[in-house]
């Protein structure tokens, strides 16, 4: 990775946002020096489509606020913010499907204390849309009237995802979908990916930077994507529909298992060690028995995390399918746009010729219905069988 010249280097194709955050940083400096600092405020809402770098933007802003030089990118404060170890920055990253009211209250309490370094106390809340309704209400008061040096940075896909009362108390930072060119540049310059691969990954990810990076650097991810994209052309009967749904299901299960199993074991053995397992002496046996409840809590937490990873994996696969049919539609209507699944051109052409634009739209609707159903807790295999059957029927 190249040496950072500024904390905002990581933001891709977001020039307007960078300008906005720079001037806020300057205003914050004035405020600390005793001036008015009119461009700074205590609550910010970072919005933008998935992959546009909301959390990255918020983190860069946090670093800029904590840095004496307004975000030099190489002082120890900047490093700490980027490494997630800064004492005055609280990172909140819901790992489950939702973020509850208990943890929010705890967060509000911690956010109220004064900064140790003398600059700001910053709460960086990624995926703030996962806060439950009760949690949002608990958040409201703190966002409305924080302690003098506390700054809230909330990230959500769209402003509508937040409670209207919270939204109205935040200044909004709108990120846009980065253009393909900007993503390619980042992949080539920063990650050292070959230009061809970078271009293909950037097109495939359609503006989602992290996804583009994953596709460019992880052959398995590319493999999985092309397996998903091969599905539409293979649906030649109900039997194929069932196998395709089963395959999608297996892929997601495997993905979740690969990500979580090692982590789960480690966490569990750490927790057991904390309760004194393997130790000897008086009272150890009793303490170890007492771990049962804590272990159960941990397992529940791990299960929630696994569920979220599975849902995210399904979502990724389903969005790839949507991209495929969007390209089919583009071909059918003769639109001159960039095809994000151009590598599967033969399949695209075949499906485009064999069906009408109306049925393509019906198919896209079926995929979207499947996403909604999975989000509503329908068994993924059942939801996806209904979807593949609808894709086959057209």
């Amino acid at each position: 990775m190249l040496k950072r010249m500024s904390v905002f280097d990581d933001l891709v194709g977001q020039d307007t946002v960078i300008e906005q955050l720079r001037s806020a940083t300057r205003a914050a400096g004035e405020q600390l020096a005793g001036g008015a600092g009119g461009g700074m405020t205590h609550a910010w809402l970072f919005t933008g489509p998935p992959g546009s770098g909301r959390a990255e933007a918020a983190r860069a802003f946090a670093a800029a606020l904590q840095c004496a030089d307004g975000g030099c990118g190489h002082c120890s404060s900047c490093h700490q913010v980027f490494a997630g170890t800064h004492t005055d920055v609280l990172y909140v990253r819901p790992s489950g499907l939702s973020f509850g009211v208990d943890r929010t209250r705890e967060l509000v309490l911690r956010a109220a204390s004064r900064p140790t370094s003398g600059r700001f106390r910053i709460v960086l809340f990624e995926d703030a849309d996962r806060a439950t309704e009760a949690a949002s209400n608990a958040l409201l008061k703190a966002v409305e009237e924080p302690s003098p040096r506390t700054v809230w940075l909330l990230c959500t896909p769209t402003a509508e995802d937040m409670l209207v009362t919270i939204r109205s108390r935040c200044r909004q930072v709108r990120l846009r979908t980065p253009p393909t060119r900007a993503v390619v540049d980042v992949l080539v310059n920063r990650d050292g990916v070959a230009p061809d691969t970078a271009a293909e990954a950037a097109r495939a990810a359609a503006g989602h930077i992290e996804r583009a990076r994953r596709l460019a650097t992880d052959p398995d991810a590319r493999e999985r994507r092309s397996e998903v994209l091969a599905i539409p052309a293979r649906l030649d009967g109900m039997g194929a529909c069932v196998s395709a749904a089963a395959r999608l299901y297996e892929l997601a299960e495997a993905e979740a298992k690969a990500t979580t199993s090692a982590l789960d074991e480690q966490e569990k053995s750490d927790l057991k060690a904390a309760f004194g397992e393997g130790g000897t002496g008086k009272g150890v046996a009793k303490a170890v028995r007492g771990a049962a409840g804590a272990i159960k809590d941990l397992e529940e937490q791990q299960k929630r995390r696994a569920t979220r990873i599975k849902r995210d994996t399904y979502d990724l696969a389903l969005m790839d399918l949507v991209a495929f049919y969007r390209d089919v539609l583009a071909i059918q209507l003769g639109a001159r746009v960039e095809l994000s699944t151009g590598a599967h051109e033969a399949d695209l052409m075949r499906v485009a010729r064999a069906s009408s634009p109306e049925s393509t739209l019906r198919r896209i609707d079926a995929i979207m219905a499947c996403r909604e159903r999975i989000a509503a807790n329908v068994h993924p295999q059942i939801a996806m069988e209904a979807m593949t059957a609808a894709l086959y029927m057209g």
């Binding site: 039997g239 529909c241 509503a376 939801a383 069988e385």
Partner: protein, 324 residues
């Protein structure tokens, strides 16, 4: 069985408690038949210690015979298993040892050691198939020197369910309450309704297009407390099976088909029979209905029972449909 013919070591393998109890009782009775002075030690794992084992197996002062029953032998700790195995190598003359083992992999070493030591094996596995349970009912009646007709046995099974103790109790009751050959009318006088209606029966009747029976089964199974989610997933399984056999992918062998439909290979024939009269359009429609129903059951709708009833009706209607 006379006392002399009781084997010094028996192992009862299986997890059906009723049958295990009966086997133990028969063995004890047989020993008693030869010698009234019998000490019976019926022990569960928590009562067993190394000391206790030595106590019950060492020679008695008055020379009476002893029966030692070790229940749930699979749950014995490793040390105790070693003790028991040690005893098996050098058994006492006047002790009849009975080990009850649930079968399965747990505590297999003891099972093997006992077999090696020449134990008489008595199988007491839970009957899993309906035919085996019917056989059991017939057996119960013939033990009491009575007879039951086939349809009466079936009616009894439907009404009582699959728990062997309950079946046995119902049989005893019928033997006492009725005279002569027990027929369906006699059973109907004392038992009615269905104790168990699984989601699978509902699903089978539905995809066969037998709507009235499907709805009846659905009501029964909801009434006995089957979870709506399970009924819907049984429906999903049945439709999945149809999809797999109705339009199989080319070049896929039967074994693979069975795996995809998630059924044992012998069930493919049933599936193929059920798949007659289904079109791809119908199957696709059924799949859509099931996905919708799953959402309705899991909170999108108010009444899971209604959602299921509607699903059964729509799926049965989708059978034979040609156009959407």
């Amino acid at each position: 069985m006379s006392s002399a013919s009781v084997p010094p070591l028996s192992i009862i393998v299986g997890d059906e408690e009723l049958l295990v109890d009966r086997a133990v009782a028969e063995l004890v009775a047989a020993v008693r038949a030869g010698d009234l002075e019998v000490d019976v030690h019926d022990l569960v794992p928590s009562q067993v210690t190394a000391g206790k084992l030595v106590e019950v197996t060492s020679p008695s002062l008055f020379g009476e015979r002893r029966v030692v029953v070790l229940r749930s032998a699979q749950d014995l700790t490793k040390d105790l298993v070693a003790e028991v195995t040690g005893y098996l190598k050098d058994p006492a003359d006047d002790v009849v040892m009975v080990l009850a083992h649930a079968g399965g992999a747990k505590g297999k070493a003891l099972l093997e050691a006992a077999t090696k030591a020449g134990a008489t094996r008595i199988n007491c596995a839970k009957p899993t198939k309906a035919a085996e349970r019917l056989q059991f009912i017939k057996g119960e009646f013939s033990r009491a020197d009575r007879q039951i007709t086939a349809d009466a046995a079936q009616a009894l099974l439907d009404a009582v369910g699959s728990d062997l103790r309950e079946i046995a109790a119902a049989c005893t009751q019928l033997v006492v309450d009725t005279d002569g050959r027990v027929d369906a009318a006699a059973v109907a006088r004392y038992h009615t309704g269905k104790a168990e209606a699984s989601g699978f029966t509902v699903a089978d009747r539905t995809v066969e297009g037998r709507l009235p029976e499907a709805l009846e089964q659905l009501r029964w199974s909801l009434a006995v407390g089957t979870a709506p989610v399970l009924i819907n997933s049984a429906l999903a399984g049945a439709v999945r099976g149809l999809a797999v056999v109705a339009q199989p992918q080319r070049g896929v062998a039967d074994a693979e088909l069975a795996k995809r439909a998630k059924v044992p290979p012998w069930k493919l024939r049933t599936l193929r029979q059920q798949a007659r009269g289904w079109t791809p359009q119908g199957v696709a429609r059924a799949m859509a209905v099931i996905a919708e129903t799953d959402a309705l059951i899991k909170g999108a709708g108010r009444d899971p029972a209604y959602a299921l009833e509607r699903a059964v009706i729509e799926i049965a209607a989708a059978r034979g449909s040609v156009l959407r």
